[in-house]
Chain length 417, copies 2
């Protein structure tokens, strides 16, 4: 579909034994997609020289760009560099620029520099070094029969640094294609089947050069239209029309036509309106505050969160009525209300939000069905509440509860409640 | 290395365009590892019939077990089932058990059932259905030349449910090997190079049937010894001795010889000693409370967290001295101290913890260098503080700050401070 196809090879036993989750590939894929470069395959293999060379040869038969991550560390289980050195019939030579960078880096952090660290300055003679501003392992670029092979460290911020400083600008010059575009429709509160049923006819009539993908994440389904074409303007018009048609059809399910997380959308709106918000979290344990503060600029509207995991905290910090806690338990509409009102008062925010629920079995509450969650949102004039029953396990219930909490806040500040 | 080798194929455009991060593979890998089944390759491909069939044939040349996840949804972009149907020359037939499960599932959740949903009851005639207790898409098991091919839905809790109910018991019967074991040494506060230097000689003398992997995650390095052998008892002794040797050498770097997250270790210790803890989080925005409440049983010792993202919150909820905030700013030793003491007092906990820092540029604080973080921990008799300067970006600084916060709390409750 795209003009250039690529593959990613992630290297490291830790990926195969499941002790590390690969977040690099997703980030790299998004960067390449923005350049019109389509990933057709992603392979994870162990720290194994032959596996590295085999996978590389195989991918090079199918794609023009291969990005390898990982296995560049200073410890002996990292063997990507020797493998590439052998694959490209080269030998390791010390790169002066990298060596002096290493020495100054260790000086700045004032930690002693070990031989193992200095060995990271050695690179295959026939590679182009990609400078690693933030770390010790340099990236490497090789060329073979009009294909490009790039090796990057597995440490996320180092990989991202090299991609942004060196790789992306180079790829943009070399490969960038205007004829590859996508548009997003963000929905919340509904499942993918309900959405698919509503837009069945639109989907069936999609032209062959435009695809629709459903990206569900706990009642937040992101719809992605991806198209390719010779004429950028025509393609753009086609995608725009389809995006509008789908958005109109889905109507109240849609939260945004931009590919932004809901927390970002909430922060932007509150900031624009000089409104502040404070949270009272029980069952989510601080997760909603965490999600909001992942966004740069959250401090403009987010005052704070009171994580009242225990009865005592609800009572001491939010003035929740002890009698209500005694008689109705912590998971009820009244407690959610008093939490929202209480946190708004104590943090002097425009908007207050409270959430209380039972995400997994066990604990002192035996009356409430597992998965029950009550939420409340308020300002000086009104309080709204909603109840959910989530069917998942502890971890997933926390995820979906946070998603639905953000949706509830978003609806409230947009006057949909 | 293991007696049985396996591969994982994850299917879905969303994985290739990077809008979804694959957490399933890591979980599956861990389950298989516990059965002595080693994953040699993990491939992510798009919703593409040919890619599915090609990858499957290729993997079947190398492994005895292939697990596919994803592409079983009810929407038209999910084509794993037709692909498998074609690959195994079969035809789709309605499975009565699945159909009645679907009907009752939708009845219970009282949502209308669409034809698309019912179509999920159709499975290839020659497959063994793996019942999906928690969702709509059934798992499928095929056999071909003594190899097993298993197809599972991509929704994490559904995939896990089928693995636990059906797949793992079956694999244990069929493949389980006693001659495959591993041991872990959890370290915190140091980088992998420093650790590698300390145990260089031990690592160099490792026998060929035992491997050591470094699994770094923001100043928490997990060391994993993996061994295989004919005699379970001998292997167990070998690994035990090596684990002890490494742990003794690394000494103060080691936090546990069990493969448990630090938050779990802290909760267990506090619970055993009937101690309670309360947190005051500024820069981490609730993330530490979130990490702690991911652990089942956190409610036994975790009272709550005050996320005081703003000056006003620090002042209103924790009684932090306004003069100190004015003169020294929010990121200083005194504020961290007052946060810890303040939250301990207001939540009536045995232990109080406070963290304040500047994780990324911008905001009203222009004096403090980006990456500066102050932490304090206290009980009724003492307060301890520590300062860090983290070199990463906003997201990574939050991650490492939370890790070092947990380490600081762990050290305090173990009287290492």
């Amino acid at each position: 579909m795209a003009l250039v196809s690529a593959s990613i090879i992630t290297i490291g036993d830790e990926l195969l034994i499941g002790q590390v989750i690969d977040t690099n590939s997703a980030w790299i894929a998004q960067q390449l997609l923005d350049l019109g470069i389509e990933i057709i395959r992603r392979t994870a293999i162990g720290d194994d020289k032959n596996a590295i060379m085999d996978t590389l040869s195989k991918d090079l038969q199918a794609v023009q760009l291969v990005i390898l991550t990982g296995g560049l560390g200073p410890t002996s289980d990292d063997i990507t560099k020797p493998a590439l050195c052998e694959y490209f019939n080269s030998k390791l030579v010390v790169n002066k620029k990298v060596e002096s960078h290493l020495r100054s880096l260790f000086e700045r952090r004032n930690i002693p520099i070990f031989p193992a660290n200095l060995s990271q300055a050695e690179v295959p003679e026939n590679c182009h070094v990609l400078f690693n501003r933030q770390g010790t392992a340099p990236g490497m670029l090789f060329e073979k029969n009009n294909s490009i092979i790039i090796s990057l460290p597995g440490v996320p911020h180092e990989m991202k640094g090299i991609m942004e400083d060196e790789v992306i600008p180079m790829l943009r010059k070399r490969f960038s294609s205007d004829a590859f575009m996508y548009r997003t429709i963000m929905t919340a509160g509904f499942g993918e089947t309900a959405i698919a049923e509503k837009i069945k006819d639109i989907e069936e009539k999609l032209p062959s050069h435009i695809r629709l993908a459903y990206l569900p994440a706990y009642r937040m389904v992101r719809l992605r239209l991806t198209g390719s074409g010779a004429d950028k303007n025509i393609l753009n018009e086609e995608l725009k029309k389809l995006q509008e048609a789908i958005a109109n059809r889905l109507n109240e399910m849609v939260v945004s036509l931009e590919d932004l997380p809901l927390e970002q959308i909430i922060i932007s709106k509150l900031t624009k309106e000089n409104q502040t918000i404070a949270l009272a979290e029980s069952c989510t344990g601080g997760y909603i505050g965490h999600r909001i503060t992942q966004i740069h600029g959250a401090s403009k509207c987010f005052l704070g969160s009171i994580v009242c995991y225990q009865y005592s905290a609800k009572e001491l910090l939010l003035g929740v009525d002890v009698a209500v806690l005694k008689n109705q338990g912590a998971v009820c509409e009244e407690v959610a209300k008093q939490m929202a009102i209480g946190v708004r008062k104590s943090l002097k925010s425009h908007i207050g939000f409270g959430i209380t629920g039972l995400l997994s079995a066990g604990g002192d509450d035996d009356k409430t069905p597992v998965g029950t969650v009550w939420m409340a949102v308020c300002d000086e004039s009104a309080v709204r509440t909603i109840k959910y029953n989530f069917p998942y396990d502890r971890i997933q219930n926390k995820e979906v509860a946070a998603n639905m909490a953000l949706l509830f806040i978003w609806k409230y500040i947009n006057h949909f409640l």
